[in-house]
């Protein structure tokens, strides 16, 4: 039986807004299962991204517990969270956030060398991964602003997975891409997931959500729906879409 990789207990996250507190996540109890491709959906302002940042240790919760394996990370300092993130998490952002003044290869290695010290081994791995996601050698020495959006996001994915993170977080990874590029990126996510990678992905895009094995629906800071999907490729596209649409309609999508 698959084990839990991430658990929250009465997780709360509030923001101060002009003197009053805005509660974005409210007493959330959640369990992320190892090997799942968990998709978090919800309307704008439902707290999807806030939950993702809290789960990934990018941000500290206001209250509650976050248990990552055996460790509780909610009381970690910012530096402890950084060390936690580098060892356990990978991130793919909507805006990619590659470092402008570094080449493609250096961007990937910047994420890797903070964790591992074996440069030749890492370089070899980075090159293999880049090739695998379709970034050919000619692009390795290019700078981010010489890449297309799709290429940049693929580099972002390689940077996120090069450390073999226990969990890969993604925040609207196809949000700024055209549909062809978006599909390529999603194929990579699927491929990565097939290799056993746990993924937590935030999206409001149905096509993206179709790639998940579990869909959580958020409303007003709480999970109001938790739907398990068959693994991608096990059913045909139409059937999966109908499955998901029914769930989302039920959620009021």
């Amino acid at each position: 039986m698959a084990s839990s990789i991430l658990q929250t207990e009465k997780l709360c996250k509030s923001f101060s807004n002009g003197g009053s507190l805005q509660h974005v996540i409210k007493n959330l109890d959640l369990e992320i299962i190892e090997g799942d491709f968990t998709v978090i959906m919800g309307a704008s302002g439902s707290g999807k991204s806030t939950l993702l940042y809290a789960l990934s240790g990018m941000d500290k919760p206001t209250m509650g517990k976050i248990r990552f394996g055996e460790k509780e990370i909610q009381d970690y300092s910012n530096d402890e969270l950084a060390i936690f993130r580098r060892g356990n998490c990978g991130f793919v952002f909507q805006s990619v956030y590659l470092l402008d003044n570094q080449t493609v290869l250096d961007n990937v290695l910047t994420g890797a060398l903070i964790v591992q010290k074996n440069t030749p081994k890492l370089v070899k791995k980075a090159k293999e991964l880049l090739k695998k996601v379709g970034i050919e050698e000619g692009l390795w020495k290019k700078y981010p602003n010489q890449l297309s959006g799709g290429e940049a996001q693929r580099v972002g994915i390689v940077r996120a997975i090069i450390n073999d993170p226990k969990i890969l977080f993604a925040d609207e990874p196809t949000g700024q891409l055209n549909s062809a590029s978006g599909k390529d990126v999603l194929d990579i996510f699927t491929e990565v997931h097939k290799n056993g990678q746990s993924i937590v992905l935030v999206t409001h895009d149905l096509k993206t959500a179709l790639r998940g094995t579990r869909v959580l629906y958020l409303r007003d800071g709480g999970v109001v729906g938790d739907h398990r999907m068959p693994a991608f490729g096990e059913d045909d596209e139409k059937e999966r879409r109908a499955h998901l649409t029914a769930f989302l309609e039920e959620m009021g999508w």
Binding site: S49, Y53, M58, D59, N78, D79, A82, I83, R85, R86, G87, C89, F91, F93, S95, Y97, L98, L99, D100, N101, Q102, T103, L105, D106, L109, T110, G111, L113, I114, V115, T119, V123, A126, K141, Y143, N145, Q146, R159, D171
Partner: protein
């Protein structure tokens, strides 16, 4: 439109408070220091002149040893030099007279003793502060001192002023102080006024090769060519008078009294230059950062129709406001502290300094600095014109990085933080130039201050190291018939004695072609010397070799390998210059000969001095006490009297010893025997009981001349070190803050990737280290060079550089810069990765 630009300026000021405060601080410090120099430079100059004028002193005086004087010398002045009025009077010239200091310790001054009659031939004898007349007439031994004794040395009217001579105390009471023109400084001498009776006594007492009565000619008018005048006098006298003739003039004494303050002013100018350079660089750095940061705003403004010059003005206003505020503050503070600066200068100069704040000087300083700031800001702000709207809206073409990948990470070995730091450094080398220049200038100031502090921190002893002669020793003068070899040998058996070397009393010889006589410093083997380090060439080894001081070398253009002719008592000998040494001894005029070399010139000379070096931890006074006790005292002490014997024989022997000592000391008697018949008993004795004639050490003169300089220098250097370190800290803080602001986005991404704030702070601090390291190395070289130049030019001497100090200063500078950069990069902690993602 201007409203909008002004608003943008104010917005920038508010947004970057730390940087703005830094610029205000730096301009304030620059203006403050420049104002202090501009306000007080003239005061230093005029304080001497005004004091001189108030004293009514003549501008020149020539002192001849009384028994060498001829009336023709005054006539030469009248006839050959057009001097109409020549006043004449007698003074006693004495060097290094021991005086019982106010704290009970012995100090030494170069003193000129004069009567009121002679004093009035020289100046008005303008009394400043004195006891009531009725009290003065009651004083048995009154003494009038130049005002400098009150200002610099803290004496007061009614205080005791005890002169020590031949082991005897001559107590005087300070009747008052007078305003002196010439002869009122530690370098040349202090003229003190005695009663006629005391003067007559001292005229007998001070009679040796170093102390003697002089006949003085005092006159006004243009400064005479003293060398030519001396030649004229030599011709009349048919002998060389240069050993015993002294020339005093307004220009030389003014230079002597004000040079130390001038040096301080130069040092202040140096530090203000450091702050100015740092301020200008900071402005340059900040404007570049602001433009890059606000590129899109610039694009929008340009798109709305603002011209680049108008946008540039927004940056200019910012610095007009910040620089203006700093300048005004600096100028105001400079005016407010004027009374304190006046008091400081008064103490250092030994003459009263008054005067207002000198607003003009402060205004000039403030206006100059503000003008430079504005000009520099304008030149940098014009960079805006390089960004047309489209380029600016795309955040400038420079963000499109197509350059060479420097320090690729796939080739990197070792720590990633170091690797990324080096990548950051080499990727932005252009920005490093400014930091390099600032570190070099500030580092040079720090190194120079540290070196100067180091040798002044041991009080006068650091300065004494510049003397170019061994000074931390006791010179024991022996009586002429004593067995100096046996005496020296016995001295070496004392545990308090490290070594004892035979030598000569430093006689003066003349250097042919030069008006300066030269005191001879001699050693049997110069390898025994400890504080004589040739600047060029080597120490004399043979009897035909001489080493000269740097000042003589420069003044008379004598180089190593040249020959000079020395003359003593009509005998001339040629010597080859083997080396040149930095020395402040006798104004750098001394010559160094081997003992044999000296004997070539003074064929009858016999060693009469033993230079005794104390063992580690033994002070000169302790050493003297030990030798005193071991050898039964000196002839000088015996001359003081004080027999405590109880028996008649003891009393007779003590009285006889006292008489012998007086004869030995005062009348040049070399050998005395006595026999006293008391009843049936014959009591006999002789002068051979005495070996030691007297002691001499540099301790007293070091205390009076060097301690005040050392103390002032030490304090100045300490504050300079703190100030310049503060400037470096402000500079690095601002650069780092600016960098954090500029790289906020990239730093946020790095945090997202798992880099902790500490990692990023370390990267940022390490990024500056190559340039700080290079700057420190260059600053060390510059600091050492300036140190040498400073001492070489001003004192014709060099300080022995303590390598430990250099290393410690370098390490301090590196660690300090790293720590400041690391701590000021702490702003990174405030960068929230979530905020970045959601912006």
């Amino acid at each position: 439109m201007h409203d909008k630009i002004l608003r943008l300026s104010l917005f920038n000021l508010k947004k970057n408070k730390r940087e703005v405060l830094g610029i205000i601080f730096m301009t304030m410090v620059t203006v403050l220091m420049l104002s202090v120099v501009l306000i007080n430079q003239k005061k230093i100059d005029t304080a001497f002149d005004e004091s001189f004028t108030r004293s009514g002193c003549v501008r020149q005086g020539v002192l001849f040893k009384a028994d060498k004087y001829r009336t023709a010398f005054a006539n030469i002045l009248r006839e050959g030099y057009g001097i109409e009025k020549v006043n004449e009077g007698c003074l006693i010239y004495s060097s290094m007279v021991d005086v019982l200091g106010r704290d009970g310790e012995t100090v030494a001054y170069n003193l000129m003793f004069a009567t009121e009659k002679t004093e009035r031939k020289m100046e008005d004898f303008r009394k400043i502060e004195h006891l009531p007349k009725e009290e003065i007439v009651e004083i048995e031994h009154p003494i009038w001192l130049p005002e400098g004794f009150r200002i610099k040395k803290g004496y007061d009217v009614g205080d005791a002023f005890v002169i020590l001579k031949n082991g005897k105390e001559y107590p005087f009471l300070i009747a008052g102080f007078y305003e002196a023109g010439l002869m009122s400084n530690d370098g040349y001498s202090h003229k003190v006024i005695l009663s006629d009776e005391d003067y007559a006594l001292f005229a007998m007492l001070f009679d040796s090769s170093k102390d003697y009565e002089c006949y003085g000619l005092f006159f006004d008018g243009e400064e005479i060519d003293f060398d030519r005048y001396l030649e004229d006098c030599n011709e009349v006298a048919s002998e060389n008078l240069s050993f015993t003739t002294h020339y005093h003039c307004y220009r030389w004494e003014k230079l002597n009294e004000t040079s130390f303050l001038e040096i301080f002013m130069m040092m202040i100018i140096g530090i203000s230059a450091v702050t100015l350079i740092a301020s200008l660089f900071m402005i340059r750095h900040k404007i570049s950062g602001d433009i890059e940061d606000q590129m899109q705003q610039i694009g929008v403004l340009e798109a709305l129709g603002y011209r680049s010059v108008e946008i540039s003005l927004s940056y200019l206003y910012e610095y007009v406001i910040a620089g203006g505020l700093g300048s005004v503050l600096g100028a105001v503070i400079a005016c407010l502290i004027t009374p304190f600066v006046n008091a400081g200068i008064t103490v250092m100069l030994g003459r009263r300094v008054d005067g207002d704040g000198g607003i003009t000087g402060a205004v000039i300083a403030a206006a100059t600095v503000l003008l430079l700031v504005v000009l520099f800001a304008l030149l940098k702000a014009r960079q805006v014109k390089n960004y047309p709207p489209v380029v600016a809206l795309r955040k400038g073409i420079r963000t499109h990085h197509f350059g060479k990948n420097i320090c690729p990470l796939d080739k990197m070995h070792g720590n990633i933080n170091l690797g990324l730091a080096m990548k950051g450094f080499f990727g932005n080398l252009k920005a490093s130039w400014g930091i390099l220049i600032c570190i070099i200038t500030a580092g040079t100031a720090i190194m120079f201050s540290a070196l100067t502090y180091d040798f002044s921190r041991n009080g006068a002893y650091g300065f004494a190291a510049t003397m170019g002669t061994d000074w931390d020793l006791l010179m024991v003068y022996t009586l002429s018939d004593s067995d100096i070899d046996a005496f020296r040998k016995e001295l070496t058996t004392l545990p308090q004695v490290r070594k004892a070397i035979k030598g000569f009393n430093g006689e003066h010889v003349s250097v042919k072609g030069s008006s300066d006589s030269a005191e001879v410093i001699s050693f049997g083997d110069f390898a025994d010397s400890e504080n004589i380090h040739p600047y060029e060439g080597r120490l004399p080894q043979y009897d035909n070799e001489v080493m000269i001081g740097l000042r003589r070398s420069r003044a008379e253009n004598i180089k190593v390998g040249d020959s000079i002719v020395l003359e003593y008592n009509g005998l001339e000998k040629t010597y080859i210059v083997s080396g040149i040494v930095g020395t402040i001894q006798n104004g750098g005029t001394v010559v160094y000969l081997t003992n044999d070399g000296y004997k070539r010139l003074n064929i009858f000379a016999a060693e009469n001095v033993v230079k005794v070096y104390p063992a580690e931890g033994v002070s000169i006074s302790e050493l003297q006490a030990v030798i005193d006790a071991h050898f039964g005292g000196t002839a000088r002490q015996a001359a003081k009297g004080g027999a405590n014997g109880q028996s008649m024989e003891e009393k007779i022997r003590a009285a006889a010893q006292e008489k012998i000592a007086a004869m030995l000391n005062q009348y040049g008697v070399t050998d005395v025997d006595y026999a006293v018949q008391v009843g049936d008993e014959l009591i006999t004795g002789n002068s051979r009981n005495f070996v030691i004639k007297e002691f001499f050490s540099y301790e007293g003169i070091i205390k009076t001349q060097m301690v005040p300089i050392a103390e002032t220098t030490k304090k100045f250097c300490f504050y300079a070190l703190i100030l310049v370190s503060g400037i470096v800290a402000v500079l690095i803080t601002i650069i780092t803050s600016n960098d954090v602001r500029r790289q906020r986005h990239a730093l946020g991404i790095m945090k997202g990737l798992g880099y902790s704030s500490k990692d990023l702070m370390l990267q940022l601090a390490l990024k500056y280290m190559p340039v700080i390291l290079a700057g420190t190395v260059i600053a060390t070289i510059c600091g050492l060079w300036i140190n040498n130049l400073f001492w070489g030019l001003l004192f014709a001497s060099f300080t022995k550089v303590n390598i430990q100090t250099v290393v410690v200063t370098d390490i301090f500078l590196l660690i300090f810069c790293f720590a400041v950069a690391y701590l000021s990069a702490g702003r990174i902690r405030k960068i929230s990765v979530t905020e970045l993602m959601t912006e």
